[in-house]
Symmetry: C2
């Protein structure tokens, strides 16, 4: 049993056939051309997919096509309501697919499908209540409750990065002030690193970023590991903000685990030990509540494709 999982990103579209044990066949890929109408991009994607299905000889095994898309999605109507990254608006993507292909099609927000992939086939395998936070340009969120993806009414919820953690705080791209993603995203970490470098000309972060050729999310962590005080301060503040955000979701959902993905999740035990220690100390505000473990994602960039496919595979499994 196979489902096609497609992950649409801001610069490229990637897809693959996924078996119901989570294993993938070859990945196909299509660049996203800036300014190209969404309809045209989707027609090209279907061309590519038709060839892929033929080449792999899997036409008879496919039970459906799942697609993860950045932006606001109407999962019931199968429409991309609005995607800032792609400049798509009211794109009836499922309808376009169905005109040309005989398979059922489902769409989901990209953060949701990635979370679903990790929950079902990755770091959350076999665990019922899973929250995933993707720490990138923003903070994406995914919620899996008792093995089912919770996307919010009409698939338009689970915007875990767009919850205010600081009244009147940093301005967010969403229009609000003080959203979690302004404190816990990779972008926020780079912002805070740059600010700390301005304030601390003596910091190791200057040498590290010069060696790397850029200031990214790793600079403060590298400096902190080497005992740099300014770097350590950035890292500690970042971990505080992220942990408080995680605690909020613990108190709402009481998940068994929280999965972190994105480049920052590569910081390993240094990061995860500190977060888990913080959570254990704070105990979610309720001394008797069950421990939540925070763990790194396992599937990397494949989580989106695998999760999109899982929109079909998992249902058939369960």
């Amino acid at each position: 049993m196979i489902a096609i999982g497609i992950d649409i990103g801001g610069t490229s579209i990637k897809g693959a056939a996924v078996y119901d044990d989570g294993k993938m066949l070859d990945v196909f890929s299509l660049p996203v051309i800036k300014g190209e109408p969404g309809e045209d991009t989707i027609e090209k994607l279907i061309d590519l997919l038709e060839n892929y299905v033929k080449d792999q000889g899997i036409a008879d095994e496919i039970i459906g096509i799942g697609i993860g898309i950045p932006g606001l999605i109407d999962v019931e109507k199968g429409v991309v309501v609005s995607s800032n990254n792609l400049k798509w608006e009211n794109l009836p993507i499922v309808e376009i697919f169905k005109k040309r292909l005989p398979y059922p099609v489902r769409i989901a927000n990209d953060a949701n499908s990635a979370a679903y992939g990790e929950a079902i086939y990755g770091a959350g395998k076999g665990i019922p209540y899973v929250i995933m936070l993707t720490l990138g340009t923003g903070v994406g969120g995914g919620i899996v409750l008792d093995g089912e993806l919770y996307e919010g009414n009409l698939g338009q919820g689970a915007e875990l990065g767009h919850t205010v953690v600081q009244f009147g705080g940093r301005e967010c791209s969403c229009g609000r002030k003080g959203c979690l993603e302004r404190y816990a995203s990779a972008t926020a970490l780079v912002f805070d690193t740059t600010k700390a470098m301005d304030e601390h000309p003596e910091s190791l972060m200057h040498r590290i970023s010069a060696e790397q050729g850029q200031i990214d999310g790793r600079v403060a962590f590298k400096a902190a590991r080497q005992g740099d005080l300014a770097g350590l301060e950035v890292v500690e503040q970042y971990i505080y903000c992220l942990s408080e955000g995680i605690l909020n979701y613990c108190n709402i959902f009481r998940p068994n685990i929280v999965i972190l993905s994105g480049g920052i999740a590569n910081e390993g035990d240094y990061l995860f030990d500190r977060i888990n220690t913080y959570l254990a100390k704070e105990r979610y505000g309720f001394p008797r509540s069950p421990v939540v473990k925070v763990v790194p994602a396992k599937l990397g960039y494949d989580s989106g494709k695998i999760g999109a496919a899982a929109l079909f595979l998992h249902e058939k499994n369960s």
Copy 2:
């Protein structure tokens, strides 16, 4: 078809037989005596309930007993893990009931059962995605997703008042700093009212609270309605904090409506118009997302009893 709904509070226990249209028979009531062991209180409650069932002649119609309890509840084991208000710990309440009565018993957190009552039989009747916030001593929360009560893994989530909206903000009873309930509860409103009165000896709030004999959640609203600037400032700040909290839950759950209960919800259109205007302006951070309407609760103190009964009635209905 009848279920017994019981609402356990810090000072009294109230219960009633509830029909599957949400209508209640007479209410029975038992005071909670401070210092009395939980087992003893429950035995008395069962005595009372046995007489009630006999008096009402409903023994054969009862399909179950639902109980809402303040504190941390293990719904699967049927145990009150810990209740600060009642000083109960690890009380196997379902087991005690089952020893003496032939009916199935379910327990829920009191805020959850009240939300379920409002969602199924009150202000949320017929509406699938409902969030309720109870604005009292603290901020209680309840989540109903597609007609089903979401209590969090093991029934220990939905603590919507204990999410941080201000990093390092006001100290909360839960141990965290900056929880929503420190800004949006009735207690918080009284705190802010008292502070504003200290700073503004000219404010109408002094006369109003003297007339009332106390400073409560109505003082600032009454003053604001009469054009008092200090009172208006308190009310506006309160509405800002509450609305931001509601927006957070909109972005996570995208509910159709948010129900507010507690004394503050009696402020009527003056309050609800302002909240709904704020939400419409902020549009949940996403201009295309569906509008969420914020409305007052309808069932008053009965929501807990009706919701506890609905733990059985709604399942049979759907």
